[in-house]
Symmetry: D2
Subunit: 421 residues, 4 copies
C-alpha cells in the first residue's frame, strides 16, 4: 500500500489515518477492505455517518437511477424535483407519523453549518445572544459552533480568538450520582446576578458522541424541555450523531417524548455518506429573511435523492427501529460483560449508551487505545471518544448482520483480553 504521497501532501491535521494506517478501497455494509485485500469489520461507520452501512444497495440504486439521466446535481437553493421529493418523503415518512410540524432549512451540507444556522436562528428569534451548552458537548468547530463545543483541542487552536456566545453547564451525571444538574441551571436562570445571560436557546445532544457516549436520562431531558418552556428558551436538539435511528428511534429525543423547537440533522441523513444536513424549526420560529444565511452546497440533489431513498427503505414502518433496539441490547450485554472482565483486572470500567450508540468507559485513553489498537490488528475498526479518549465506542452500521456484529464483538473481547491481561 502506497502511502507516501498521502503522508507527504496531506496536512498534519489528518488523524484517523494515524490510527488506521492502511489505504481503504472498498466497503460494503459493515465491511471495509484495504488495498492489500484485507477485510475489517467496521464499528466506526464514518463516525455515525453510515447508519445504513457502506454502499447500501437500495440507496445506491436510487443514486444510480438519478444519475442515469441528466438530472440536476447541484441546484443552489433552487426548487428542484429532487428537493421536493425529499421534503414530501420526509414529511410523510418521518414528521407526520410522529405528529411533528417543522419547517426545514438546508444550511449547507455539514453538521457545523447546521449548528451555526440553528443557534443563529435561535438568537434572532429571541433577541438574546447566549446559548447554553453542556460539558463534553460537541457541536462543530467553525467559530459559531465552537462556542458550544467543549473540547480544548479545538478551543485552543483558534489562534487566540476566544469564542463568544456560549455558556457551559454540567450535563446529566456530570456532578455525580444523586445530583440533578438541572438544579444548577434552574437556579442560575432565576438568579439575577449568577452570571448566566438569559439564553436564547439550549443546545443538547441526547447521547453525547464525541463526549464519551454519555446518554442523558430521559427524565432529565424532559425536565430540560420544561425549564426551557418555563423561561421562554428554545430547546435545540443536536441530533447529528444520535439521530437517523442510531438510538433506536429516528430522532433520539423520541425516547423522552420531548419536542424540540429546533433540531439539527446531518451525518447519516443522506443515507450513503454524502454531505447533507438540515435544520428543523417550529414554523413560528422561522424568522429568517430570504438569503440571510447561505452556502453554495445547500441544494445537493444527489443527497436529496439518497436521503429520500433511505427514508423510504428503512422508515416506512417500525421494523428497522426494532432491529436497532434488538442489536443494541446485544451490544449492551456484551459490552457489560467485557466491562465486568476489565473490572476484574482491577481497572474501573463500565458500559453505557442507548440503542446502537454504545461505549465501554475504561478510564483512560491509554488503555482504550491499547484495546482498539489490538482490535485493528485483529480486523476490527473501532474508535474511542470522551475527553481523554477513554471510551471504546461502537457506532457500527445499524444494518450490520448479526454475524458481523457478533464477530466484531468477539474480536473486541479478545482484543481487550490480550491487551489488558
Amino acid at each position: 500500500m502506497q502511502t507516501q504521497t498521502l503522508e507527504r501532501m496531506e496536512s498534519n491535521v489528518r488523524t484517523y489515518s494515524r490510527a488506521f494506517p492502511v489505504v481503504f478501497t472498498k466497503a460494503q455494509n459493515a465491511r471495509l477492505t484495504d488495498e492489500a485485500g484485507r477485510e475489517y469489520i467496521d464499528f466506526l461507520a464514518g463516525a455515525g455517518t453510515l447508519n445504513y452501512g457502506h454502499n447500501n444497495p437500495q440507496i445506491k440504486q436510487a443514486l444510480l437511477d438519478y444519475l442515469a439521466e441528466d438530472n440536476i446535481v447541484h441546484g443552489l437553493d433552487f426548487f428542484t424535483a429532487a428537493k421536493r421529493h425529499y421534503l414530501e418523503t420526509f414529511e410523510e415518512v418521518i414528521l407526520k407519523p410522529r405528529g411533528l410540524d417543522y419547517k426545514v432549512q438546508f444550511p449547507g451540507p455539514t453538521g457545523t453549518n447546521a449548528v451555526e444556522a440553528a443557534i443563529r436562528l435561535a438568537r434572532n428569534a429571541k433577541g438574546r445572544h447566549n446559548i447554553v451548552t453542556f460539558t463534553n458537548g460537541f457541536h462543530g468547530v467553525t467559530m459559531g459552533a465552537l462556542a458550544t463545543t467543549g473540547n480544548r483541542k479545538f478551543r485552543e487552536a483558534t489562534g487566540g480568538v476566544p469564542t463568544v456566545g456560549g455558556s457551559f453547564l454540567p450535563y446529566d451525571g456530570y456532578l455525580g450520582e444523586g445530583t440533578d444538574t438541572l438544579d444548577y441551571f434552574e437556579k442560575l436562570l432565576g438568579d439575577k446576578s449568577g452570571g448566566l445571560d438569559v439564553p436564547a436557546g439550549v443546545i443538547v445532544e441526547t447521547v453525547q458522541g464525541e463526549g464519551g457516549i454519555n446518554a442523558c436520562g430521559l427524565e432529565w431531558l424532559k425536565r430540560l424541555e420544561g425549564i426551557c418552556r418555563a423561561h421562554d428558551i428554545l430547546l435545540i436538539v443536536d441530533d447529528i450523531q444520535a439521530g437517523c435511528g442510531r438510538t433506536g428511534k429516528f430522532f433520539s429525543f423520541e425516547h423522552a417524548g420531548v419536542v424540540p423547537d429546533i433540531v439539527t440533522n446531518s451525518k447519516s441523513l443522506s443515507g450513503l455518506g454524502l454531505p447533507f444536513s438540515q435544520v428543523l424549526m417550529r414554523p413560528e420560529l422561522d424568522v429568517w429573511k430570504p438569503g440571510q444565511y447561505n452556502g453554495t452546497f445547500r441544494g445537493f440533489a444527489l443527497a436529496f435523492t439518497t436521503a429520500a431513498a433511505a427514508l423510504e427503505h428503512f422508515w416506512r414502518d417500525d421494523s428497522f427501529a426494532e432491529e436497532v433496539q434488538r442489536k443494541g441490547e446485544i451490544v449492551a450485554e456484551r459490552f457489560g460483560r467485557i466491562a465486568a472482565w476489565i473490572r476484574e483486572q482491577g481497572i474501573e470500567a463500565s458500559e453505557r449508551g442507548r440503542g446502537l450508540m454504545r461505549g465501554i468507559d475504561v478510564g483512560s485513553g491509554d488503555i482504550a487505545d491499547k484495546i482498539t489498537g489490538k482490535a485493528f490488528e485483529n480486523g476490527l475498526v473501532i474508535e474511542t471518544s470522551g475527553q481523554d479518549g477513554e471510551v471504546v465506542k461502537c457506532l457500527c452500521p445499524l444494518t450490520i448482520p448479526d454475524e458481523d456484529l457478533l464477530k466484531g464483538l468477539d474480536i473486541l473481547e479478545e482484543s481487550a483480553k490480550s491487551a489488558l491481561r
Copy 2:
C-alpha cells in the same frame, strides 16, 4: 409545476427560488430544464460551482465507474485510494507545472469550512488574532468566516453577536481612480496607534464575486503580496469562486504572478457540483496538530474522484484555459456594448471582470433586477451581485458552447433593451 410543498416546508431563508420560481429537473452543460420542459441557458452555473457545466460526461463517467463497484464513498480522513489518486493528480497536473509547493488540508466540503480553517491556520502560525479583509469581500457566513465577510445582510443576522478578528480595508478601486488603497494599508501597518492590530494574514479574492465582480489590478495584487512579505503577514487568496479556471487560469492569482501562502478552493473543485473544498498551505505553515480541526465530510471519496477526473480532462494542457480566455473576451466585448447602450439611455453602466467572471454594473439593484427578470422570461438564468445587487453577473459554464454563449448574450441584450427602453 407543483411548488406548494416546497413553499410550505422550506424555510423563508430560501432565495434563488424566488427569482426563478420554477422547479428544475434536468441540466446538461449550459442548459437547465424545468419540470414543464422549458429550457434555459444557464449563466449562473451554481454560482460558479459548475465551471465544467452540468453533468459533464467525462466527469460523470468517472463517478459512475467509481460507483459501479463497492468503492468506499465516505472515508472520514482515512487514507483511501480515491484521495491518493486526487492528490497525485492535483500535484502532477496543477502544482508541479506551476512550480507550486503546497500541502493540502480537506477541512470539510464547503467554502466556509475552508475559510475557517485557513484563517485559523494563519492565526496559529503567526500567533496573532487579526485577519485583514476587504470591502465587499465575501468569505462565508459561519461566525469565523463572517468576520471577513462584508455583507450587512449576514452580519446583522447573528442575533447580536459581533464578529471578532477581522479588519476591513478598502479593496482596489474603492477610494476611486488615482488612489492606491494599499497606501492606506501600508500606512496603518507602520502606525503604532492607527488601530490596526498587526494581522496574521490578509484574505483576498482577486475577483470579488458576491461583491460585484470587482477585479483587482494585477499590480495591486503584486504590491499586496510585497506588503505581506515585508511585514511577515500571510497572504491568503480565497479562490473559491474565482479559481478552477474561472478567470482563464486555474488559479486566479496566476495572472499576477503572486504565490499566496494559503489558498482556499471549493465550488467547482469537484467538477460535478459535489460538495468539496481544500486549503493549500506552504509546507512550513502546516502547524496543525493531528485532529485540531475536523469535520465529518472531509473524506468524500466521490468528490475526490470527480475532482481528479476534472483535472485530467481539462487541465493537462493549456487549451482549456485559452478557450476560457477567448470566451471571456467575447463576453467582455458584448457586455461593453450592452453597457454602452445603457449609458445612452442615461443610466451609468460599465463592464468589468476577468476571464469568464464578468459583470455589467448598472448602478442599482432595481435596474439589474428588471434586466435579469426579463432575461429569465426570455430563457436565460442570470443573477446579480454587488452590495445592492447592481451588477448583472455572468458566471456561465466555462464549457459553454459558443452557440449557447451567443444566444445567452443575445437574450441578455434584448432583455436589457426591453427592460430599460
Copy 3:
C-alpha cells in the same frame, strides 16, 4: 430641600437618591445630616468606602496639612514624596508584619480600573485569556471587569456587546449544603472537553458584597488556593469591598491563611472617601512593560496622603482589628435575633457575613425594601444587596461608636417589626 435641579439635570441612571430622596450636607463618623438638619445613622458608609467613618479627624488633618502648602496634588505617575510616603507606610505597617511581598500598581483610582489591570496582568503573565469568576460576583462594570460581574442589570445594558473572557462557576454554598462547589471547578480543570478554557486566573471576593454578603468558607478559600497552585492558575482576591479591615483583618483573606497572587484594593483605601485603588502582585508576576496600562488619575497625591494617615492611625497594632471583630459579633448577634423574629412571622430569614460585613437575608427584595424604607423613615441609612436585593446589609463605619451602632440596630429591629408585622 431643593431637588428639582438634581432631578432635572442628572441622568436617570442615578439610584441611591431614589431610595434616600433627601439632600445630604454634612457627615461625621457614622452620622449623616440632610439639608433640613435631620441626622441619620449611616449603615451604608459609602458602600464600604468609609470604613473609618466620615471626616475622620486624624485622616482629615493629614489632608489639611498637605494642602496647607503647595504640595503637588496631581502627579500622573511621577515619583512624588506623597507616593513614596504611602508606599513606605504600606510596606511597613501592612505588608511586612504579614510577611507579604507584593509590588504595587496604581491603575487609576476606581475599583473597576484595578480589576481591569489585575485580570489583564494575569492574562499577560500566563498567556491565557480566560478568568474564572463566581456566581454573584461583582467586580465592576467597565467591559473587561464586567466579564467577571454576574449582575444582569449591567450585563444586559452593554448595547448588545457580549463580554469576553470570563467563565462563571458556583461560589461556595451555591449548590446547597453538602456540596463543595470546588469539586465542579476541579473536575472541569481536569476535563479536556468540559468547555472550561484553562484560566489565567480566578477572581474571587472572600465575602461577596453586592452579591448578598455571602462569606465563603475559609476551608473553601484555602482549597481554592490549592487548586490554583496545582494548576498554575493565579489567585486574584478582589478585596475592594471586603478589604481595609471590613472583615476584621486588613485583608479579608488573612482569615484563611491564603496568599493571593494578585490583590485589588480600593473603596476605603484612601481612608477619607477619596478615589484611590491599587493592584498588588507577587513581584515575579510584574510583566508589565512601562506604560502598558495607564490612566490620568493614577498619581492622586491627596489620596496617597490620606491613605498613609489611615494606615498610621488604625493599623500600627491589632487593637482596631479586634474592635471590628467585637462589633461584628454584636451585629451578628442582633441580626441573628432579628432574623429569628422574622422567621417567626413565617418568612425565611437568616444572618450572614464576616466581621462588620453583615446581612440578613429576608428572601425577597420587596420585603427587604420595606424594612430599609421604614428604617430610613426612622433615621437609619441602610441598603440591600443580593441578586434580588433580598439581603439587608450592614456596612457601617468600622469606627462607629457603640452607642450609634446599638441605636442603628434598634432602629433596624423596630423597622423590621413595624414593616413586617
Copy 4:
C-alpha cells in the same frame, strides 16, 4: 532624593518617572519643584489635567472652605448640596450661555469610566453595537474604551482578548492633503457589503492629544456632524483632554459650531487635579434605567466643589478664553519658528494644534526624546505624543504667566538647538 522604595515597590508599568527621574514635592501654577529644591516650568500639566495650574488659590480655597466643616466628602450618587451646586453652576455658567441642553451622568471619576458609559449609552439608545473611532484616537484602556483606542501598546497587552465593538476610520488628514477622509466613511455607510456595521455612534477628539496633537479641520468636524445626523448616528465628542478651555473655548467643538449628542469631560474638569468626570447627553438619549451603570466614586463631593469653583472663577465671561487664545498664538508662533529651524537642519518638522494644545512634529520619537530630555535638564517638563512619540507637545497650564511661558519656550528652543545641532 530617595527613589529606592519607589523603584522597588512600584510596578514596572510606571512610565513618567523614567523620563523625569526625580521626586516632585511642590507645585504652584506652572512650576514644579523637586525634592532637591530644583524648579521646573511645567509644560505637561498633568497631561492636560491642570488647565488652571497647580494649586490654583481660588479653587483650593473652595476646597479648604468645604473641608473646614464636616461636609460630606464621599456621597455615592446621593443628592448632595455639593453636587447640586456643581450642576447649577455648570448649567448657568457653561450650558445656558452656549444654548446647550444636556443631562449629566457622573460615571465614576476617570476618563475611561466616562468613555465606557458614553459608548454604552450610545449602543443602548440606538440598538446597535458598533462605534466608529479614528486612527490615532485615544479614549482609555479599560476593555470597552480600548475598542476605540488605537495604540498597539495597550491593544497588544490584553492577554489575547481582542476588543469588540469598535471600527477604525482615518482621521482628518490621515490619507494626505487633498483627501477628505469622510468620503470613505460616507461611502462605507452607504455600502451594504463594505464591512462597516452601521454604528450607534462616532467617537472623536477634535484635537487628538495622545495621538500627536492632530487638530481636525473645523469643516471636517461639521461634515462629520452632518453625516451622523443623516444616518441617525450619535456624535460623541471625547473632550477629556481638549475640553475645559484647552483649545481656547470651554468645549473644543465650539470652534466648529457642532453640537454633539454626547460629550465626555474629565482631566481638568475638577480644576485642581482631583479625579472627576462626566458624560453629557441630549435629554432624549438618557435611556439609562436606574443603576444600570455604577461605580463607587461617582459622587466625590470635593471634586464637585472644586469644579464649581473653577467654573465660577474662569468661565463667567470670555476673558479667560481670550487669554488662552492669545497665549496659543504665542506658542504657535514660537513652535513654528522652532520647527523652521529644525527643518533647516534637514529634519522634517512642523507645528500643529489649536489653542494651547500645541505640538512640533519632528518625525521620530528619538529626535523628540532628545529634545525633551535636554529640556528637562534645562528645567522644563515637557512630553511627547504621537504613534512613535514624534511630537513634542505643549500642554502648559492655561493660567501660565507670560514670563513662565516665554521662559519655557526659550528653554525648549535652546534644548532643540543643543540636541540637534
